[in-house]
């Protein structure tokens, strides 16, 4: 593992005779108040290569991308060279003019514009007035979507689309125009397997056409499959640059976190425990039908299925966001029919949503405010006003408990890295002391280390007697971390999988059949 020094030395030597670099960064430093996001980082991308940027949540990947594209200005001393040109400073407009485009982690799309307008937006940028025609941009957007082999209504308003389709719009937007260097910040985090495969194919084609791609993902298998080289960051510092050919997931996980991470079956038999959640014959037209299941005290039940299988819809009915057509829900033996999220919280159900950016968190508010928002009653002091002392103690308690990395609890949630935002969502719901915790895709955009952390927390909570329903797209995740797994297909539970006795391959073949 002494790669860093040798690798860097090797790069400097080979730079002179290399075929060319799309991007050369050195001495990148960036400090936010209280946080050194990047420290002396060097980063180089060859022409036409697929380069992965890997590292834990908060290690500075998105910050690095924002520096290259002029969204943040780096601290003095940073050297930036794009396609052989030294740049004194970068602005978003100059980066675009140089052929850099980005799929932002938070998408950065325009919610009230149509899909076509979003995809074609970048060609409108500039101060020189030009005529704009809807028809032309519609046609171009259509061509890109066909190249991506996806079917989207180009006239739909963006905010009417589910998050996965917005992700596709963001991808299409980055491919529009004449990009020569594309940054993809977790483009696959909310895509289905087949959509992901499609994207990976397109990325390969792009690289064959000479486009350089910088790819960020927390799905290590994907990283290793797609890239030719990878750069690993940890805590804002460069760990090293590696050829992907001799990289394994375990080694990469080790490089990213500095720890050895192993997956082992954690399933326990909880069938003799008291049931916390009992669902019988639950139906909702067009979403799910005839769902019967139970979750025992201390049990983690995984729910696996492809996107569209009705898992999230089922969760929405349990939490009172939608009303089921028929069927009963019992919590601790008592029949409940939550008509609002507030009802469900009062009954003892907590729901960590899959879409933390829009449903889970108020981005502009502080971390502390987000954590206490569901339990304001608990932090009231004298006169019924919010007591800063109680709030602070509750907040610091959860920040420590879930090891959330924050500069300060009063910073806005939007300044946190993706994985840490996910933990804030978790903290927010755990403050309600739920009997049943529904985790909907809790590891989307979360790094390997933090994933392990989240499942450790889940197991700890289960051991305290909470029942957990774990919804996920990733088969190995539910296999390794649940006591039982339910497979949903077209709105029905079609199979129950026991991780202790059946193999991962068995479940995989069913789900992807």
């Amino acid at each position: 593992m002494n790669a860093p020094a040798t690798e860097n030395a090797g790069q400097v030597a080979s730079a002179a005779e290399s075929p060319g670099w799309a991007l050369r960064l050195s001495n990148v430093n960036k400090a936010f108040e209280g946080v050194q996001a990047l420290k002396d980082v060097a980063f180089r991308v060859r022409l036409g290569e697929i380069h992965c940027l890997a590292g834990e949540n908060g290690c500075g990947k998105s910050t690095l991308i924002k520096i290259v594209t002029g969204v943040y200005s780096p601290d003095p001393g940073t050297e930036i060279e794009v396609f052989g040109k030294r740049l004194a400073s970068v602005t978003p407009a100059s980066a675009r003019a140089l052929g850099i485009s980005v799929i932002w982690q938070d998408l950065a799309l325009f919610p009230h514009m149509t899909v076509a307008e979003n995809i074609a937006f970048d060609e409108s940028v500039g101060m020189l007035p030009r005529l704009y025609t809807h028809g032309a941009s519609y046609k171009r957007a259509d061509r890109i979507l066909r190249r991506l082999r996806v079917d989207l209504d180009l006239n739909a308003t963006l905010n009417s689309l589910p998050i996965a389709q917005r992700q596709i719009v963001a991808i299409a937007r980055a491919l529009h125009g004449h990009a020569r260097l594309i940054f993809m910040d977790e483009p696959t985090s909310s895509l289905t397997q087949s959509e992901t495969n499609n994207l990976l194919k397109i990325v390969k084609t792009l690289s064959e056409e000479g486009v350089s791609v910088v790819f960020v993902s927390h799905r290590l298998a994907e990283v290793i499959e797609i890239s030719s080289r990878l750069t690993v960051l940890r805590n804002g510092r460069l760990v090293g640059v590696y050829d992907t050919a001799d990289m394994t997931q375990t080694r990469l996980g080790h490089l990213m976190t500095g720890q050895d991470l192993v997956s082992e079956i954690s399933a326990r038999d909880r069938t003799d425990r008291r049931a916390v959640l009992e669902v019988e014959g639950l139906n909702r037209k067009g979403e799910f039908s005839d769902i019967s299941l139970d979750v025992k005290s201390g049990e983690i039940v995984g729910v696996i299925g492809l996107i569209g299988a009705g898992r999230t819809e089922l969760a929405h009915s349990l939490i009172g966001m939608t009303k089921p057509d028929s069927g009963t829900i019992r919590l601790d033996g008592r029949k409940i029919a939550p008509r609002s999220v507030r009802d469900a919280i009062a009954a003892g159900i907590a729901y960590v949503s899959e879409d933390r950016l829009t449903l889970g968190l108020i981005q502009q508010q502080s971390i502390a405010a987000n954590i206490v928002i569901t339990v304001l009653k608990k932090v009231l002091g004298k006169l019924g006003l919010i007591s800063p002392k109680r709030e602070a103690s509750l907040v610091s308690n959860w920040i420590e408990n879930l090891s959330i990395q924050v500069g300060h609890p009063e910073h806005a949630v939007s300044t946190l890295s993706g994985g840490n935002q996910q933990r804030v969502v978790l903290a927010k719901w755990l403050t309600t002391n739920p009997r049943l915790l529904i985790l909907d895709s809790p590891t989307v955009g979360v790094d390997v280390g933090a994933r392990a952390g989240i499942f450790k927390i889940a197991r700890k909570l289960a051991d305290e007697g909470i029942a957990i329903l774990l919804i996920s797209d990733e088969v190995h995740e539910v296999h390794y971390n649940s006591d039982r797994v339910l497979h949903m297909l077209n709105g029905r539970v079609v199979w129950e999988h026991d991780p202790a006795s059946a193999s991962l391959a068995d479940l995989e073949s069913r789900v992807y059949a």
């Binding site: 594209t69 002029g70 969204v71 943040y72 200005s73 602005t91 978003p92 407009a93 100059s94 980066a95 675009r96 980005v102 932002w104 950065a108 799309l109 325009f110 919610p111 009230h112 514009m113 149509t114 307008e117 937006f121 970048d122 060609e123 409108s124 940028v125 500039g126 101060m127 007035p129 030009r130 005529l131 704009y132 025609t133 209504d153 006239n155 739909a156 308003t157 502009q364 939007s414």
Partner: protein, 339 residues
């Protein structure tokens, strides 16, 4: 067709209500559907619609402006002095002088908002007060009746005598209004600058990352508002033939109400010329109808207030949304987040 309907729900709803109102009014008042009443409606509302399209651009960009009516008064007074200095002036000079003065006042707003990172409602409340205070101070509230002939002479672009012998005609201001509406439509719907104004209003951070020049878009939006305010000031004098310092103050809220009714979103990113026209027509016809039916003018204010509440709460903008993302919070996020 389906998507066309989806994209214009607010506008279509408003159109339906308008049609119902027109049917009702023509049934209950024989004066409503006469050429005389309809042309008077257009003449009397031309100035409002000129302001409204300017305000529409500002609302789309995520801002708000309440200083434009007072700005129009300022333009009128300064223009009087300019014309005297220029030896009388003419229509061409009138448009140039009033337009430039208006743009200047609009750019003051844009400059304050952009450079000092102050949200637009605060800035325009301040300039509203400053403009009006300065105006009253320097004019001591004097009216001006002695105006150049060209400015106060009536120019008709359409005349018609009905069977019963009454005349109906359209003023020059209606033609100017049509030109302003068309030009605004061209900019917001058919140019890249319009796209960028929508984008900036919709997601300021997203627009910034895409390389949109935010200072420029801010200047275009408020500069255009100023241009419209200046032209509206010019045409208003042609209609009333006098310059009165407090003649226009207060009308900004009626115009704002009309534009919001027409589906422009407080908070930015949404709004159309069609909706804007319908909104102004709605306010105008409500007022006209109540007049014809002999209802107290105070009822008009209440009705407009009620209609705005209904319109906002039944469209897809929730109040929380309007507050959290609205003008009160608008630019603040991005400015405070700028590094």
């Amino acid at each position: 067709m389906h998507s066309l309907i989806k994209g214009y729900t607010v506008e279509l709803r408003l159109l339906a209500v308008l049609l119902l109102m027109c049917i009702g009014l023509s049934a209950s008042s024989e004066h409503f559907l006469t050429a005389g009443n309809l042309t008077a409606l257009l003449n009397n509302n031309a100035v409002n619609l000129i302001w409204a399209v300017g305000l529409l651009v500002v609302l789309i960009s995520g801002g708000i402006d309440i200083s434009f009516a007072v700005a129009a008064s300022v333009v009128q007074y300064v223009a009087v002095y300019c014309f005297t200095a220029l030896g009388g002036g003419n229509w061409f000079l009138g448009f140039v002088v009033c337009g430039m003065l208006g743009v200047g006042l609009g750019l003051i707003n844009a400059y304050l908002i952009h450079s000092f990172r102050i949200i637009s409602i605060v800035v325009t409340i301040a300039t509203f007060n400053a403009f009006f205070g300065l105006l009253m101070f320097f004019t001591s509230g004097r009216f001006i009746y002695n105006l150049p002939r060209w400015w106060v002479d009536r120019i008709f672009i359409f005349e018609h005598q009905s069977a019963d012998g009454t005349w109906s005609e359209l003023n020059l201001s209606v033609a100017v209004m049509a030109a302003c509406v068309f030009a605004t439509w061209l900019i917001i719907a058919r140019t890249n600058v319009g796209r960028q104004i929508y984008a900036f209003g919709d997601n300021p951070e997203g627009a910034r990352r895409a390389g949109v020049n935010i200072a420029f878009m801010q200047a275009v939006a408020f500069g255009w508002m100023g241009l419209m305010a200046g032209i509206a000031g010019l045409m208003q004098v042609n209609i009333v033939k006098e310059v009165v310092p407090n003649a226009l103050i207060g009308r900004e809220l009626d115009v704002l109400a009309a534009v919001v009714l027409g589906g422009a979103r407080l908070g930015g990113g949404k709004g159309s010329i069609l909706g804007c026209i319908l909104g102004v027509m709605f306010v105008a016809i409500t007022q006209n109808g109540l007049n014809l039916l002999g209802v107290s003018p105070f009822a008009f204010q209440m009705i407009i207030g009620g209609v705005i509440l209904v319109a906002i709460s039944t469209s897809n903008i929730s109040f929380g949304d309007a507050l959290a993302r609205g003008p009160l919070a608008d630019r603040f996020k991005i400015w405070s987040g700028r590094r």
